[in-house]
Protein backbone atom coordinates (compact mmCIF):
# COMPACT_ATOMS: atom_id res chain seq x y z
CA UNK A 1 0.00 0.00 0.00
CA UNK A 2 1.43 3.35 -0.99
CA UNK A 3 2.07 5.81 1.74
CA UNK A 4 3.84 9.06 2.37
CA UNK A 5 6.37 8.94 5.15
CA UNK A 6 7.90 11.97 6.82
CA UNK A 7 10.94 10.93 8.77
CA UNK A 8 12.27 13.67 11.01
CA UNK A 9 11.81 16.41 8.43
CA UNK A 10 13.50 19.58 9.63
CA UNK A 11 13.78 23.07 8.14
CA UNK A 12 16.06 25.71 9.48
CA UNK A 13 16.42 29.27 8.24
CA UNK A 14 19.67 30.42 9.77
CA UNK A 15 19.17 30.38 13.53
CA UNK A 16 15.40 29.91 13.22
CA UNK A 17 14.00 26.41 13.04
CA UNK A 18 10.68 26.44 11.19
CA UNK A 19 10.03 22.71 11.41
CA UNK A 20 11.49 20.45 14.10
CA UNK A 21 11.86 16.83 13.04
CA UNK A 22 8.37 16.19 11.75
CA UNK A 23 7.62 12.46 11.53
CA UNK A 24 4.37 11.16 10.16
CA UNK A 25 3.00 8.27 8.12
CA UNK A 26 0.13 9.09 5.82
CA UNK A 27 -1.58 6.03 4.37
CA UNK A 28 -2.87 6.06 0.82
CA UNK A 29 -6.13 7.86 0.19
CA UNK A 30 -6.15 9.79 3.44
CA UNK A 31 -7.36 13.36 3.75
CA UNK A 32 -4.94 15.08 6.05
CA UNK A 33 -5.16 18.57 7.50
CA UNK A 34 -2.09 20.34 8.82
CA UNK A 35 -3.62 22.57 11.44
CA UNK A 36 -2.06 25.22 13.60
CA UNK A 37 -1.81 28.92 14.26
CA UNK A 38 -0.01 31.08 11.73
CA UNK A 39 3.75 30.67 11.85
CA UNK A 40 3.54 27.14 13.25
CA UNK A 41 5.48 25.66 10.32
CA UNK A 42 2.58 23.93 8.59
CA UNK A 43 3.08 25.69 5.25
CA UNK A 44 6.83 25.07 5.39
CA UNK A 45 6.14 21.40 5.98
CA UNK A 46 3.75 21.29 3.00
CA UNK A 47 6.30 23.08 0.79
CA UNK A 48 8.96 20.54 1.77
CA UNK A 49 6.58 17.77 0.73
CA UNK A 50 5.96 19.58 -2.57
CA UNK A 51 9.70 19.99 -3.17
CA UNK A 52 9.60 23.78 -3.03
CA UNK A 53 11.81 23.90 0.07
CA UNK A 54 14.88 21.79 0.65
CA UNK A 55 14.72 20.07 4.07
CA UNK A 56 17.64 20.83 6.37
CA UNK A 57 17.34 17.31 7.77
CA UNK A 58 15.24 14.19 7.72
CA UNK A 59 13.81 12.17 4.89
CA UNK A 60 10.70 12.08 2.79
CA UNK A 61 9.55 8.80 1.25
CA UNK A 62 6.69 7.92 -1.01
CA UNK A 63 5.91 4.25 -1.48
CA UNK A 64 9.27 3.52 0.10
CA UNK A 65 11.15 5.66 -2.43
CA UNK A 66 13.29 8.46 -1.02
CA UNK A 67 12.32 11.73 -2.69
CA UNK A 68 13.89 14.09 -0.14
CA UNK A 69 16.03 15.86 -2.74
CA UNK A 70 13.94 15.26 -5.85
CA UNK A 71 13.12 18.55 -7.62
CA UNK A 72 9.52 19.70 -7.46
CA UNK A 73 8.84 19.19 -11.14
CA UNK A 74 9.73 15.51 -10.97
CA UNK A 75 7.46 14.70 -8.04
CA UNK A 76 4.15 14.77 -9.88
CA UNK A 77 2.22 16.18 -6.95
CA UNK A 78 -0.63 18.58 -7.62
CA UNK A 79 -0.62 21.73 -5.54
CA UNK A 80 -3.11 24.52 -4.97
CA UNK A 81 -1.51 27.72 -3.69
CA UNK A 82 -3.05 30.16 -1.27
CA UNK A 83 -2.92 32.86 -3.97
CA UNK A 84 -4.08 30.18 -6.44
CA UNK A 85 -1.20 31.26 -8.72
CA UNK A 86 -3.31 30.98 -11.85
CA UNK A 87 -1.31 32.04 -14.90
CA UNK A 88 -2.74 35.44 -15.84
CA UNK A 89 -1.78 35.21 -19.51
CA UNK A 90 -3.70 31.98 -20.08
CA UNK A 91 -7.40 31.13 -20.22
CA UNK A 92 -8.98 28.82 -17.66
CA UNK A 93 -8.64 25.88 -20.06
CA UNK A 94 -5.02 26.70 -20.89
CA UNK A 95 -4.22 26.94 -17.19
CA UNK A 96 -5.61 23.48 -16.61
CA UNK A 97 -3.88 22.07 -19.68
CA UNK A 98 -0.53 23.69 -18.81
CA UNK A 99 1.03 20.53 -17.34
CA UNK A 100 -0.08 18.54 -20.38
CA UNK A 101 1.39 21.17 -22.69
CA UNK A 102 4.67 20.95 -20.79
CA UNK A 103 4.67 17.20 -21.40
CA UNK A 104 4.05 17.77 -25.09
CA UNK A 105 0.48 16.51 -25.27
CA UNK A 106 -1.44 17.24 -28.46
CA UNK A 107 -3.70 20.29 -28.53
CA UNK A 108 -6.84 18.20 -28.82
CA UNK A 109 -5.84 16.04 -25.89
CA UNK A 110 -5.09 19.13 -23.81
CA UNK A 111 -8.52 20.51 -24.59
CA UNK A 112 -10.27 17.23 -23.84
CA UNK A 113 -8.58 16.90 -20.48
CA UNK A 114 -9.30 20.52 -19.57
CA UNK A 115 -12.98 20.00 -20.34
CA UNK A 116 -13.03 16.78 -18.30
CA UNK A 117 -11.49 18.52 -15.32
CA UNK A 118 -13.78 21.51 -15.55
CA UNK A 119 -16.62 18.99 -15.52
CA UNK A 120 -15.08 17.38 -12.47
CA UNK A 121 -14.95 20.65 -10.54
CA UNK A 122 -18.46 21.51 -11.80
CA UNK A 123 -17.39 24.45 -13.91
CA UNK A 124 -18.15 23.40 -17.45
CA UNK A 125 -17.94 25.85 -20.32
CA UNK A 126 -15.43 28.36 -18.98
CA UNK A 127 -12.38 26.90 -20.73
CA UNK A 128 -11.99 29.86 -23.06
CA UNK A 129 -12.39 32.57 -20.47
CA UNK A 130 -9.38 34.52 -19.24
CA UNK A 131 -8.84 33.85 -15.57
CA UNK A 132 -9.28 37.53 -14.75
CA UNK A 133 -12.92 37.22 -15.85
CA UNK A 134 -13.71 34.47 -13.33
CA UNK A 135 -15.19 34.90 -9.85
CA UNK A 136 -13.27 33.92 -6.73
CA UNK A 137 -15.04 30.57 -6.43
CA UNK A 138 -14.54 29.82 -10.10
CA UNK A 139 -10.84 30.55 -9.88
CA UNK A 140 -10.68 28.25 -6.91
CA UNK A 141 -12.12 25.45 -8.96
CA UNK A 142 -9.81 26.15 -11.89
CA UNK A 143 -6.81 26.01 -9.54
CA UNK A 144 -8.02 22.68 -8.17
CA UNK A 145 -8.66 21.33 -11.65
CA UNK A 146 -5.19 22.37 -12.78
CA UNK A 147 -3.55 20.66 -9.80
CA UNK A 148 -5.46 17.46 -10.62
CA UNK A 149 -4.77 17.53 -14.34
CA UNK A 150 -2.04 14.91 -14.21
CA UNK A 151 -3.87 12.63 -11.74
CA UNK A 152 -1.14 13.27 -9.16
CA UNK A 153 -0.17 10.82 -6.44
CA UNK A 154 -0.51 13.53 -3.88
CA UNK A 155 -2.82 16.52 -3.77
CA UNK A 156 -1.49 19.45 -1.74
CA UNK A 157 -3.46 22.54 -0.84
CA UNK A 158 -2.11 25.58 1.00
CA UNK A 159 -4.92 27.44 2.73
CA UNK A 160 -7.00 26.92 -0.39
CA UNK A 161 -10.24 28.41 0.84
CA UNK A 162 -9.00 31.36 2.86
CA UNK A 163 -9.83 33.88 0.14
CA UNK A 164 -13.49 32.86 -0.09
CA UNK A 165 -16.37 34.29 1.91
CA UNK A 166 -17.73 32.20 4.78
CA UNK A 167 -20.68 30.68 2.96
CA UNK A 168 -18.75 29.73 -0.15
CA UNK A 169 -15.97 28.36 2.01
CA UNK A 170 -18.38 26.06 3.77
CA UNK A 171 -19.73 24.78 0.45
CA UNK A 172 -16.24 24.29 -0.96
CA UNK A 173 -15.18 22.32 2.12
CA UNK A 174 -17.89 19.81 1.48
CA UNK A 175 -17.20 19.75 -2.22
CA UNK A 176 -13.49 19.30 -1.75
CA UNK A 177 -14.12 16.40 0.61
CA UNK A 178 -16.50 14.78 -1.85
CA UNK A 179 -14.05 15.26 -4.68
CA UNK A 180 -11.28 13.68 -2.65
CA UNK A 181 -13.47 10.71 -1.76
CA UNK A 182 -14.47 10.25 -5.38
CA UNK A 183 -10.88 10.30 -6.58
CA UNK A 184 -9.44 8.49 -3.58
CA UNK A 185 -6.37 10.68 -3.76
CA UNK A 186 -4.07 11.26 -0.83
CA UNK A 187 -4.67 14.88 0.10
CA UNK A 188 -2.87 17.25 2.43
CA UNK A 189 -4.48 20.58 3.26
CA UNK A 190 -2.86 23.33 5.28
CA UNK A 191 -5.32 25.35 7.29
CA UNK A 192 -5.51 27.49 10.36
CA UNK A 193 -9.27 26.96 10.57
CA UNK A 194 -9.99 24.11 12.99
CA UNK A 195 -13.59 23.84 11.82
CA UNK A 196 -12.35 23.26 8.27
CA UNK A 197 -9.92 20.63 9.53
CA UNK A 198 -12.52 18.89 11.67
CA UNK A 199 -15.11 18.71 8.89
CA UNK A 200 -12.83 17.53 6.09
CA UNK A 201 -9.95 15.54 7.49
CA UNK A 202 -9.44 11.86 8.13
CA UNK A 203 -6.32 12.80 9.99
CA UNK A 204 -5.70 16.11 11.73
CA UNK A 205 -2.09 17.05 12.34
CA UNK A 206 -1.92 19.77 14.98
CA UNK A 207 1.22 21.84 14.85
CA UNK A 208 2.68 24.64 16.90
CA UNK A 209 6.07 26.29 16.89
CA UNK A 210 7.44 23.94 14.27
CA UNK A 211 6.41 20.75 16.05
CA UNK A 212 3.70 18.19 15.48
CA UNK A 213 1.73 17.95 18.73
CA UNK A 214 -0.75 15.34 17.67
CA UNK A 215 -1.74 13.48 14.52
CA UNK A 216 -5.06 11.72 14.93
CA UNK A 217 -8.61 11.53 13.57
CA UNK A 218 -10.67 14.65 14.34
CA UNK A 219 -12.77 13.18 17.15
CA UNK A 220 -9.72 11.77 18.84
CA UNK A 221 -7.99 15.08 18.66
CA UNK A 222 -11.04 16.63 20.23
CA UNK A 223 -11.80 14.04 22.86
CA UNK A 224 -8.29 12.86 23.61
CA UNK A 225 -5.97 15.84 23.05
CA UNK A 226 -2.38 14.84 23.45
CA UNK A 227 -1.41 17.92 25.38
CA UNK A 228 -2.59 21.24 26.69
CA UNK A 229 -1.87 23.02 23.40
CA UNK A 230 -4.07 20.69 21.39
CA UNK A 231 -6.80 20.74 24.03
CA UNK A 232 -6.83 24.51 24.04
CA UNK A 233 -6.41 25.05 20.29
CA UNK A 234 -9.13 22.62 19.21
CA UNK A 235 -12.44 23.96 20.49
CA UNK A 236 -12.86 25.44 23.94
CA UNK A 237 -11.70 23.75 27.11
CA UNK A 238 -11.22 24.22 30.82
CA UNK A 239 -7.69 23.54 31.93
CA UNK A 240 -7.21 22.76 35.61
CA UNK A 241 -3.77 22.49 37.17
CA UNK A 242 -3.62 19.96 39.94
CA UNK A 243 -1.38 17.90 42.19
CA UNK A 244 -1.93 14.16 42.67
CA UNK A 245 -2.51 13.26 46.28
CA UNK A 246 -1.87 9.84 47.75
CA UNK A 247 -5.13 8.06 47.08
CA UNK A 248 -5.90 8.51 43.35
CA UNK A 249 -7.18 11.99 43.71
CA UNK A 250 -6.16 15.35 42.37
CA UNK A 251 -6.09 18.48 44.41
CA UNK A 252 -7.24 21.41 42.30
CA UNK A 253 -7.96 24.99 43.33
CA UNK A 254 -11.26 24.89 45.18
CA UNK A 255 -11.31 21.22 46.04
CA UNK A 256 -10.41 17.70 45.11
CA UNK A 257 -11.38 15.44 42.19
CA UNK A 258 -11.32 11.65 42.09
CA UNK A 259 -10.27 10.22 38.77
CA UNK A 260 -9.26 6.87 37.35
CA UNK A 261 -6.05 6.27 35.41
CA UNK A 262 -3.97 8.86 37.21
CA UNK A 263 -0.21 8.67 37.27
CA UNK A 264 1.13 7.78 40.72
CA UNK A 265 2.18 11.27 41.69
CA UNK A 266 3.24 14.71 40.62
CA UNK A 267 1.54 17.68 39.02
CA UNK A 268 -1.05 17.10 36.26
CA UNK A 269 -3.23 19.13 34.00
CA UNK A 270 -6.87 18.31 33.46
CA UNK A 271 -8.83 19.26 30.37
CA UNK A 272 -12.61 19.29 30.58
CA UNK A 273 -14.75 20.44 27.64
CA UNK A 274 -17.38 23.04 28.63
CA UNK A 275 -20.23 20.81 27.36
CA UNK A 276 -19.07 18.07 29.80
CA UNK A 277 -19.17 20.31 32.85
CA UNK A 278 -22.43 19.84 34.77
CA UNK A 279 -23.85 22.80 36.66
CA UNK A 280 -25.81 22.20 39.86
CA UNK A 281 -27.59 24.57 42.20
CA UNK A 282 -25.57 25.28 45.33
CA UNK A 283 -25.80 23.03 48.32
CA UNK A 284 -26.50 19.74 46.52
CA UNK A 285 -23.70 17.35 47.43
CA UNK A 286 -22.16 14.88 44.98
CA UNK A 287 -18.82 13.54 43.71
CA UNK A 288 -16.25 15.69 41.92
CA UNK A 289 -18.06 18.91 42.64
CA UNK A 290 -16.51 22.31 43.29
CA UNK A 291 -18.31 25.36 44.66
CA UNK A 292 -18.30 28.66 42.82
CA UNK A 293 -20.22 31.80 41.99
CA UNK A 294 -21.80 32.67 38.68
CA UNK A 295 -19.96 35.60 37.19
CA UNK A 296 -21.54 35.75 33.74
CA UNK A 297 -24.18 33.93 31.76
CA UNK A 298 -25.41 34.14 28.18
CA UNK A 299 -27.98 32.39 26.10
CA UNK A 300 -26.60 31.01 22.84
CA UNK A 301 -29.91 29.60 21.65
CA UNK A 302 -28.99 25.91 21.41
CA UNK A 303 -27.16 26.13 24.72
CA UNK A 304 -26.50 28.40 27.65
CA UNK A 305 -22.98 29.41 28.56
CA UNK A 306 -22.00 29.88 32.19
CA UNK A 307 -18.86 31.43 33.46
CA UNK A 308 -18.32 30.41 37.02
CA UNK A 309 -15.66 31.61 39.40
CA UNK A 310 -14.19 28.65 41.29
CA UNK A 311 -11.51 29.65 43.76
CA UNK A 312 -10.42 32.53 41.54
CA UNK A 313 -10.37 30.45 38.32
CA UNK A 314 -12.97 30.84 35.62
CA UNK A 315 -14.73 27.64 34.56
CA UNK A 316 -16.83 27.65 31.37
CA UNK A 317 -19.85 25.36 31.13
CA UNK A 318 -22.37 24.80 28.37
CA UNK A 319 -25.78 23.48 29.31
CA UNK A 320 -28.94 22.73 27.43
CA UNK A 321 -31.46 25.50 28.13
CA UNK A 322 -33.84 23.07 29.87
CA UNK A 323 -31.05 22.02 32.31
CA UNK A 324 -30.22 25.53 33.31
CA UNK A 325 -30.24 26.03 37.13
CA UNK A 326 -32.30 28.93 38.50
CA UNK A 327 -29.54 31.28 39.51
CA UNK A 328 -28.68 34.86 38.72
CA UNK A 329 -25.13 36.28 38.26
CA UNK A 330 -23.52 36.59 41.65
CA UNK A 331 -25.38 33.56 42.96
CA UNK A 332 -23.70 30.43 44.30
CA UNK A 333 -23.35 27.25 42.19
CA UNK A 334 -21.47 24.03 42.15
CA UNK A 335 -19.88 22.47 39.13
CA UNK A 336 -19.36 18.77 38.51
CA UNK A 337 -16.49 17.28 36.49
CA UNK A 338 -17.52 13.74 35.45
CA UNK A 339 -14.41 11.49 35.64
CA UNK A 340 -14.91 10.17 32.11
CA UNK A 341 -14.83 13.71 30.72
CA UNK A 342 -11.58 14.65 32.42
CA UNK A 343 -8.57 14.17 30.18
CA UNK A 344 -5.33 13.93 32.11
CA UNK A 345 -2.54 15.80 30.35
CA UNK A 346 1.12 16.19 31.11
CA UNK A 347 1.76 19.44 32.93
CA UNK A 348 2.73 22.38 30.73
CA UNK A 349 6.04 24.05 30.79
CA UNK A 350 4.45 27.18 29.48
CA UNK A 351 0.89 27.95 28.78
CA UNK A 352 0.04 28.47 25.12
CA UNK A 353 -2.03 31.46 24.21
Amino acid sequence: MSALVLDGLTKRYGPVTAVHGASLRIPHGQFVCLLGPSGCGKTTLLRMIAGLEDPSGGRLLIDGRDITTAPAHTREFGMVFQSLALFPHLTAGENIAYPLRIRGAAKAEQRKRADELLELVRLPGVADRPVSKLSGGQRQRVAIARALALSPKLFLLDEPLSALDAKLREAMQIELKQLQQRLGITTIVVTHDQREAMTMADLVVVMSQGRIHQAAPPMEVYRQPADAFVADFIGMTNLLEGEITAHGAVAVPGGRLHLPNLPPSGPVLLSVRPEDVIVHPAGLDGPNRLDGTLSFMRDLGASVEFRIDVAGREIVALTRPQDRPPVAPGGALSVEFPPAACVVLPPMAERPQ
Partner: protein, 284 residues
Protein backbone atom coordinates in the same frame (compact mmCIF):
# COMPACT_ATOMS: atom_id res chain seq x y z
CA UNK B 1 -15.71 61.51 -1.57
CA UNK B 2 -17.92 62.43 -4.44
CA UNK B 3 -16.30 61.97 -7.78
CA UNK B 4 -17.37 64.38 -10.44
CA UNK B 5 -15.73 66.28 -13.20
CA UNK B 6 -13.87 69.36 -11.94
CA UNK B 7 -15.59 72.66 -12.56
CA UNK B 8 -14.15 76.13 -12.70
CA UNK B 9 -10.60 77.34 -12.65
CA UNK B 10 -9.93 76.50 -9.02
CA UNK B 11 -10.76 72.84 -9.44
CA UNK B 12 -8.70 72.57 -12.58
CA UNK B 13 -5.68 74.08 -10.85
CA UNK B 14 -3.99 70.78 -9.95
CA UNK B 15 -3.60 69.82 -13.61
CA UNK B 16 -2.81 73.32 -14.80
CA UNK B 17 0.76 73.20 -13.61
CA UNK B 18 1.71 69.92 -15.29
CA UNK B 19 -0.17 70.98 -18.40
CA UNK B 20 1.76 74.23 -18.44
CA UNK B 21 5.05 72.41 -17.97
CA UNK B 22 4.17 70.08 -20.84
CA UNK B 23 3.43 73.04 -23.08
CA UNK B 24 6.51 74.98 -22.03
CA UNK B 25 8.98 72.11 -22.12
CA UNK B 26 7.64 69.92 -24.86
CA UNK B 27 4.99 71.45 -27.11
CA UNK B 28 6.72 74.80 -27.59
CA UNK B 29 10.25 73.46 -28.20
CA UNK B 30 8.93 70.77 -30.51
CA UNK B 31 6.84 73.28 -32.46
CA UNK B 32 9.87 75.54 -32.76
CA UNK B 33 11.88 72.60 -34.00
CA UNK B 34 9.26 71.77 -36.63
CA UNK B 35 9.22 75.41 -37.65
CA UNK B 36 13.01 75.60 -37.92
CA UNK B 37 13.06 72.37 -39.92
CA UNK B 38 11.26 74.11 -42.79
CA UNK B 39 13.32 77.29 -42.53
CA UNK B 40 15.78 78.15 -45.22
CA UNK B 41 19.43 77.63 -44.44
CA UNK B 42 21.58 80.61 -45.30
CA UNK B 43 24.98 79.22 -46.29
CA UNK B 44 27.66 80.92 -44.29
CA UNK B 45 25.01 82.48 -42.07
CA UNK B 46 22.33 80.94 -39.96
CA UNK B 47 18.76 80.53 -41.24
CA UNK B 48 15.77 82.57 -42.32
CA UNK B 49 12.04 81.91 -41.83
CA UNK B 50 10.60 80.18 -44.87
CA UNK B 51 8.62 77.12 -45.86
CA UNK B 52 10.95 74.81 -47.72
CA UNK B 53 11.30 71.06 -47.56
CA UNK B 54 14.85 70.90 -48.84
CA UNK B 55 16.03 69.73 -45.43
CA UNK B 56 13.71 66.76 -45.55
CA UNK B 57 14.67 66.05 -49.13
CA UNK B 58 18.31 66.03 -48.16
CA UNK B 59 17.53 63.59 -45.41
CA UNK B 60 15.71 61.20 -47.72
CA UNK B 61 18.83 59.80 -49.36
CA UNK B 62 20.41 56.38 -49.30
CA UNK B 63 23.17 57.70 -47.04
CA UNK B 64 20.88 58.98 -44.31
CA UNK B 65 18.59 56.03 -44.86
CA UNK B 66 21.55 53.81 -44.06
CA UNK B 67 22.45 55.80 -40.95
CA UNK B 68 18.81 55.80 -39.84
CA UNK B 69 18.42 52.05 -40.26
CA UNK B 70 21.73 51.44 -38.48
CA UNK B 71 20.54 53.65 -35.61
CA UNK B 72 17.21 51.82 -35.40
CA UNK B 73 18.90 48.43 -35.61
CA UNK B 74 21.47 49.36 -32.98
CA UNK B 75 18.78 50.71 -30.66
CA UNK B 76 16.72 47.55 -31.15
CA UNK B 77 19.71 45.35 -30.39
CA UNK B 78 20.60 47.39 -27.30
CA UNK B 79 16.99 47.20 -26.13
CA UNK B 80 16.82 43.44 -26.68
CA UNK B 81 20.12 42.83 -24.87
CA UNK B 82 19.41 45.21 -21.99
CA UNK B 83 15.99 43.70 -21.35
CA UNK B 84 17.30 40.19 -21.97
CA UNK B 85 19.91 40.66 -19.25
CA UNK B 86 17.97 42.92 -16.91
CA UNK B 87 14.82 40.80 -16.81
CA UNK B 88 16.34 37.66 -15.29
CA UNK B 89 18.56 39.86 -13.14
CA UNK B 90 15.60 41.79 -11.74
CA UNK B 91 13.66 38.56 -11.32
CA UNK B 92 16.40 37.36 -8.98
CA UNK B 93 16.80 40.79 -7.40
CA UNK B 94 13.19 41.08 -6.16
CA UNK B 95 13.65 37.76 -4.37
CA UNK B 96 16.69 38.87 -2.39
CA UNK B 97 16.46 40.15 1.15
CA UNK B 98 15.47 43.75 1.59
CA UNK B 99 18.98 44.78 2.59
CA UNK B 100 20.55 43.13 -0.43
CA UNK B 101 17.96 44.70 -2.71
CA UNK B 102 18.71 48.16 -1.33
CA UNK B 103 22.45 47.66 -1.83
CA UNK B 104 21.91 46.60 -5.44
CA UNK B 105 19.55 49.48 -6.14
CA UNK B 106 21.98 52.00 -4.65
CA UNK B 107 24.72 50.52 -6.82
CA UNK B 108 22.53 50.76 -9.93
CA UNK B 109 21.55 54.33 -9.10
CA UNK B 110 25.22 55.20 -8.77
CA UNK B 111 25.78 53.88 -12.30
CA UNK B 112 22.89 56.07 -13.40
CA UNK B 113 24.67 59.08 -11.97
CA UNK B 114 27.68 58.47 -14.23
CA UNK B 115 27.80 60.73 -17.22
CA UNK B 116 27.91 59.26 -20.70
CA UNK B 117 31.43 60.63 -21.09
CA UNK B 118 32.70 58.79 -18.04
CA UNK B 119 31.06 55.56 -19.17
CA UNK B 120 32.61 55.99 -22.61
CA UNK B 121 36.09 56.58 -21.22
CA UNK B 122 35.84 53.74 -18.75
CA UNK B 123 34.83 51.27 -21.44
CA UNK B 124 37.43 52.44 -23.93
CA UNK B 125 40.09 51.97 -21.26
CA UNK B 126 38.69 48.60 -20.25
CA UNK B 127 38.75 47.43 -23.85
CA UNK B 128 42.11 49.00 -24.75
CA UNK B 129 45.18 47.01 -25.68
CA UNK B 130 47.44 48.87 -23.26
CA UNK B 131 45.38 48.86 -20.06
CA UNK B 132 42.41 46.71 -20.87
CA UNK B 133 40.88 43.43 -19.94
CA UNK B 134 42.82 41.43 -22.53
CA UNK B 135 45.95 41.97 -20.41
CA UNK B 136 44.17 40.00 -17.72
CA UNK B 137 43.41 37.24 -20.24
CA UNK B 138 47.06 37.19 -21.21
CA UNK B 139 48.09 36.94 -17.56
CA UNK B 140 45.67 34.04 -17.17
CA UNK B 141 47.11 32.38 -20.23
CA UNK B 142 43.89 32.65 -22.21
CA UNK B 143 45.40 34.89 -24.89
CA UNK B 144 48.75 35.16 -26.56
CA UNK B 145 48.99 38.94 -26.49
CA UNK B 146 46.77 41.86 -25.49
CA UNK B 147 44.36 43.15 -28.09
CA UNK B 148 42.49 46.34 -28.64
CA UNK B 149 38.74 45.79 -28.56
CA UNK B 150 37.70 49.41 -28.93
CA UNK B 151 36.53 51.27 -30.93
CA UNK B 152 34.32 48.61 -32.41
CA UNK B 153 30.71 47.61 -32.73
CA UNK B 154 31.08 45.27 -29.77
CA UNK B 155 32.54 48.04 -27.59
CA UNK B 156 29.71 50.39 -28.55
CA UNK B 157 27.13 47.73 -27.84
CA UNK B 158 28.69 46.94 -24.46
CA UNK B 159 28.78 50.63 -23.51
CA UNK B 160 25.20 51.26 -24.54
CA UNK B 161 23.86 48.16 -22.81
CA UNK B 162 25.82 49.07 -19.68
CA UNK B 163 24.34 52.54 -19.73
CA UNK B 164 20.79 51.30 -20.36
CA UNK B 165 20.95 48.46 -17.83
CA UNK B 166 20.14 50.43 -14.64
CA UNK B 167 17.20 52.17 -16.32
CA UNK B 168 15.91 48.83 -17.49
CA UNK B 169 16.16 47.27 -14.05
CA UNK B 170 14.44 50.22 -12.40
CA UNK B 171 11.60 50.11 -14.91
CA UNK B 172 11.15 46.34 -14.61
CA UNK B 173 11.49 46.32 -10.84
CA UNK B 174 7.94 47.34 -9.83
CA UNK B 175 6.25 44.89 -12.20
CA UNK B 176 8.48 42.02 -11.14
CA UNK B 177 8.13 42.88 -7.47
CA UNK B 178 4.34 42.77 -7.86
CA UNK B 179 4.38 39.47 -9.71
CA UNK B 180 2.99 36.59 -7.65
CA UNK B 181 6.12 34.63 -6.69
CA UNK B 182 4.01 31.48 -6.56
CA UNK B 183 3.44 31.52 -10.32
CA UNK B 184 6.84 30.04 -10.95
CA UNK B 185 6.42 27.53 -8.11
CA UNK B 186 3.04 26.53 -9.44
CA UNK B 187 4.60 25.86 -12.81
CA UNK B 188 7.27 23.75 -11.13
CA UNK B 189 4.73 21.62 -9.29
CA UNK B 190 3.03 21.16 -12.66
CA UNK B 191 6.14 19.65 -14.17
CA UNK B 192 8.24 22.57 -15.44
CA UNK B 193 11.90 22.82 -14.58
CA UNK B 194 12.77 26.22 -13.06
CA UNK B 195 14.16 27.42 -16.40
CA UNK B 196 11.13 26.23 -18.30
CA UNK B 197 8.81 27.74 -15.70
CA UNK B 198 10.60 31.06 -16.21
CA UNK B 199 10.07 31.00 -19.95
CA UNK B 200 6.59 29.49 -20.05
CA UNK B 201 5.06 31.42 -17.17
CA UNK B 202 7.07 34.37 -15.85
CA UNK B 203 8.04 35.83 -19.22
CA UNK B 204 4.61 35.46 -20.88
CA UNK B 205 2.83 36.74 -17.77
CA UNK B 206 4.87 39.96 -18.03
CA UNK B 207 4.82 40.16 -21.79
CA UNK B 208 3.39 43.66 -21.91
CA UNK B 209 5.80 44.97 -19.30
CA UNK B 210 8.65 43.51 -21.32
CA UNK B 211 7.37 45.07 -24.53
CA UNK B 212 6.91 48.49 -22.91
CA UNK B 213 10.37 48.35 -21.29
CA UNK B 214 11.99 47.28 -24.53
CA UNK B 215 10.44 50.23 -26.31
CA UNK B 216 11.62 52.58 -23.59
CA UNK B 217 15.20 51.32 -23.81
CA UNK B 218 14.95 51.46 -27.59
CA UNK B 219 14.02 55.14 -27.53
CA UNK B 220 16.70 55.79 -24.92
CA UNK B 221 19.38 54.13 -27.06
CA UNK B 222 18.17 55.95 -30.15
CA UNK B 223 19.07 59.27 -28.53
CA UNK B 224 22.61 58.29 -27.62
CA UNK B 225 25.20 60.43 -29.37
CA UNK B 226 28.32 60.45 -27.18
CA UNK B 227 29.03 56.75 -26.84
CA UNK B 228 28.96 56.10 -30.61
CA UNK B 229 31.69 58.74 -30.94
CA UNK B 230 33.78 57.40 -28.08
CA UNK B 231 33.37 53.65 -28.62
CA UNK B 232 32.35 53.29 -32.25
CA UNK B 233 33.95 53.73 -35.61
CA UNK B 234 32.42 56.22 -38.04
CA UNK B 235 30.19 53.53 -39.56
CA UNK B 236 28.70 53.11 -36.08
CA UNK B 237 27.75 56.74 -35.69
CA UNK B 238 24.04 57.10 -35.09
CA UNK B 239 21.66 59.65 -36.49
CA UNK B 240 21.95 61.51 -33.18
CA UNK B 241 25.68 61.98 -33.82
CA UNK B 242 24.96 63.49 -37.21
CA UNK B 243 22.27 65.73 -35.74
CA UNK B 244 24.81 66.98 -33.20
CA UNK B 245 27.32 67.59 -35.98
CA UNK B 246 24.81 69.60 -37.95
CA UNK B 247 23.51 71.59 -35.01
CA UNK B 248 26.77 72.37 -33.24
CA UNK B 249 29.57 72.14 -35.76
CA UNK B 250 27.86 72.99 -39.05
CA UNK B 251 25.37 75.47 -37.54
CA UNK B 252 22.84 73.97 -39.91
CA UNK B 253 19.87 74.24 -37.60
CA UNK B 254 17.18 73.63 -40.24
CA UNK B 255 18.72 70.34 -41.29
CA UNK B 256 19.45 69.27 -37.72
CA UNK B 257 15.86 70.11 -36.84
CA UNK B 258 14.51 68.11 -39.77
CA UNK B 259 16.49 65.06 -38.69
CA UNK B 260 15.47 65.54 -35.07
CA UNK B 261 11.79 65.87 -36.01
CA UNK B 262 12.06 62.59 -37.86
CA UNK B 263 13.71 60.93 -34.86
CA UNK B 264 11.10 62.31 -32.46
CA UNK B 265 8.30 61.07 -34.71
CA UNK B 266 9.77 57.58 -34.71
CA UNK B 267 10.11 57.73 -30.93
CA UNK B 268 6.53 58.95 -30.50
CA UNK B 269 5.22 56.21 -32.76
CA UNK B 270 6.94 53.68 -30.53
CA UNK B 271 5.62 55.25 -27.34
CA UNK B 272 2.19 55.00 -28.95
CA UNK B 273 2.76 51.30 -29.49
CA UNK B 274 3.73 50.93 -25.85
CA UNK B 275 0.53 52.65 -24.72
CA UNK B 276 -1.47 50.39 -27.00
CA UNK B 277 0.18 47.35 -25.45
CA UNK B 278 -0.61 48.72 -21.99
CA UNK B 279 -4.26 49.15 -22.87
CA UNK B 280 -4.51 45.58 -24.08
CA UNK B 281 -3.07 44.44 -20.77
CA UNK B 282 -5.81 46.30 -18.92
CA UNK B 283 -8.58 44.71 -20.91
CA UNK B 284 -6.99 41.29 -20.62
Amino acid sequence: MIRRAPRGLAEHAPILFPALMLVVFFVIPFSLMIAVSVFRRVPGGFYEPDLVFANYERFLTAFFGGVMSFSLGLAALVAALAVGIAFPFTYRLVRLSRGAQIRWLVFLLSILSLSEVIIGFAWSTLLSRTAGITNLFVALGLMAEPQSLSPSFGALLAGLVYQAFPYTVLVLYPALARLDPYLEEAARTLGSSPLRAFFTVVVPALRNTIVATTIMVFVFALGSYLLPQLLGRPQHWTLSVLITDQAIYQSNMPFAAAMAVFLVLVSLALVGLALLAGRREETA
